[in-house]
């Protein structure tokens, strides 16, 4: 017997067995979540586990939209995520172009400012940042979270590293052809930097979508909440409605799953090549 052009040896069989076993363990919580989301709360903890519910409660997926403003939470999160990602992509690639390809006074000092903070946990300065935002009247606004996440050292650093690898001769040739710097950025650098842009998109999307502490500190009004803290609120209000909680959790996972699966090729490459963010 041959699999993937290799003879099925004992060693290979052992590898398959281990890999399949680990994958099952890794995915088991998701399977349990999906299964529980179709059960009555009283059935969720029945043991032995009935993986495929005999009497699926599809109504769980209808009820959650009326029990909490789930649609509003998803809208809020999508809005924040899209704005933050676009701003991050634009401002980072724009600044990175100058750091990689232009010469100007204080370039190294400014870049050092970014580098010095790249490893600085946000938790170190979240309190003064909150006080500043409050001073600006941004408490309980989405703008606070946008300001907090749209300008990161990580983004500038990632894009700058990529631009460094693009030959400077390309820019010089474009200058001789009469292009100005903005045109070079838009027509030459941006199209060439798709891998770095995809990596940054995915990182920013996932971080913003899944952010918990930020929205928890800044957003106390229900109508402003994101899916993460909305879900958290739902869990504390309906702590015994296991089926509904699981259905809401599945809904919260779906957008990330779609983005992840459609971009996962870039994601794996991006992590492997840049692997900076932890």
């Amino acid at each position: 017997m041959r699999i993937a052009g290799q003879k099925l040896t004992g060693k290979l069989a052992a590898i398959y067995a281990t890999v399949i076993l680990i994958t099952i363990v890794m995915l088991l919580p998701f399977a349990w979540m999906l299964s529980a989301s179709l059960k009555l709360s009283s059935e969720v903890f029945v043991f032995p586990i009935e993986w495929i519910p005999s009497n699926p409660q599809w109504s769980n997926y209808v009820d959650i939209w009326t029990k909490i403003p789930l649609a509003l939470f998803i809208y809020n999160t999508s809005k924040l995520t899209i704005i933050v990602t676009l701003m991050q992509l634009f401002t980072s690639s724009f600044a990175a172009y100058a750091f990689a390809k232009l010469h100007f006074p204080y370039k190294n000092a400014l870049f050092l400012g970014y580098i010095a903070t790249i490893a600085m946990p946000w938790q170190v300065y979240m309190v003064p940042q909150f006080l500043l935002m409050r001073e600006f009247g941004l408490n309980n606004t989405h703008l606070a979270l946008i300001c907090l996440q749209a300008f990161t050292a990580f983004g500038v650093f990632l894009m700058r590293q990529f631009y460094m690898s693009i030959p400077t001769e390309l820019c010089e040739a474009a200058r001789i052809d009469g292009m100005n710097e903005y045109q070079i950025w838009a027509k030459i650098m941006l199209p060439l930097s798709k891998p770095a842009l995809s990596t940054l998109t995915i990182f920013t999307f996932v971080t913003t979508w899944n952010d918990f502490l930020g929205p928890m500190i800044y957003l106390t009004k229900t109508e402003l909440k994101t899916i993460q803290i909305g879900l958290r609120m739902f869990i504390s209000q309906y702590s015994a409605e296991y089926g509904l909680i699981m259905a809401a959790s599945v809904v919260a996972l779906i957008p990330v799953l779609i983005v992840f699966l459609s971009l996962q090729r870039f994601f794996v490459e991006g992590v492997a090549s840049s692997g900076i963010k932890g």
Partner: protein, 313 residues
């Protein structure tokens, strides 16, 4: 960058002066263009990141409740660290969390990477599956974790029960002060090992296959090849992963907030949790910033080690 070519030597003097003037103007113009590229990001970064960082260092030496007047505290907040039992617990819990979860995650990530570096059918699917917990919404997976590890009804304890474990010795997981830390560590390992696996996979692909061929010629077995080729060759990757994991563990918060709320008692209270409590529950902003500085110096120590190591390489 100056683009105008410098005039040849026989150019008359006035023309040359004109050139230098225009060259200088050109240079100022170039700098302005460069700053216009940086400004959108840098202004936001300076106001919302650099400013608060500097403010954090000032705040740590102040008394402030956020509404009344701020007053200078000198080293009060610093000395308070030594009297604060919760801080002591939070500090050691953070260290324990780090010391346990870093090597475990690292070993799991390396093991997975080696397994999935084999050319097997469906390799991409397996990699994606292992990676998925890392991107999955934390609140959603943490609530599942709580249910699965529920001491009375959860499937994990049910399975342990069917395997014949005495109900009296059953782990209480998040509800038991001896098991709560284990529960959050298990969660952390499960959630992040796929991410570090990908970094290790990249490292493995960078190893020259001739080294393995040479080891084969010397008659090395699989374990020897792992020990004497793979591990040393992955040195830089392991170092990078260790630093990333350590920093990530120092700032752990979300999963603890979701799974144990720092409890029972203070058994899973960690530094960031203590910062959060002191700032947003007690409104003791100066003291919370002092705890934040402790976190900062922990991370700084790791970063300095990393920097030294990079210089050596």
């Amino acid at each position: 960058m100056a683009h105008s070519t410098i005039a040849a030597g026989d150019t008359p003097v006035p023309a040359r002066r004109r050139k230098t003037v225009s060259k200088r103007r050109r240079r100022v113009q170039d700098a302005l263009v460069a700053y216009s590229f940086i400004a959108p990001n840098f202004l936001g970064f300076a106001v919302f990141t650099l400013g608060p960082i500097l403010f954090a260092f000032v705040l740590a030496f102040m008394h402030w409740d956020g509404s009344n007047a701020m007053s200078f505290a000198g080293l009060d907040n610093f000395w308070r660290l030594f009297e604060d039992k919760a801080f002591k617990d939070a500090f050691w819990n953070t260290i324990i969390y780090t010391v346990v979860s870093v090597p475990v995650t690292l070993a799991c990530a390396l093991g997975l990477a080696i397994l999935l570096n084999h050319k097997i059918l469906g390799r991409d699917f397996f990699r994606t599956a292992m990676f998925f917990p890392y991107v999955a919404s934390l609140v959603a997976v943490a609530v599942v974790w709580n249910m699965i590890f529920n001491p009375e009804m959860g499937p994990v304890n049910m399975i342990l029960y069917t395997l014949g474990l005495d109900p009296k010795n059953m782990p209480g997981w998040a509800a038991d002060r001896h098991w709560a830390m284990v529960t959050v560590i298990l969660f952390g390992v499960w959630k992040s090992m796929g991410y570090f696996m990908v970094i290790y996979l990249a490292g493995l692909q960078g190893i020259n296959s001739e080294l393995y061929e040479a080891a084969d010629l010397d008659g090395a077995n699989a374990w020897q090849k792992f020990l004497y080729v793979t591990v040393p060759q992955l040195g830089p990757t392991t170092f990078f992963v260790t630093v990333m994991l350590t920093i990530q563990s120092f700032k752990v918060f979300d999963q603890i907030y979701m799974i144990t709320q720092g409890g029972p008692g203070t058994s899973t209270l960690v530094l960031v949790y203590h910062i959060y409590n002191e700032a947003f529950i007690s409104w003791d902003l100066g003291y919370s910033s002092m705890i934040a500085l402790v976190l900062f110096f922990l991370v700084l120590a790791v970063t300095v080690v990393q920097f030294r190591r990079q210089k050596e390489d």
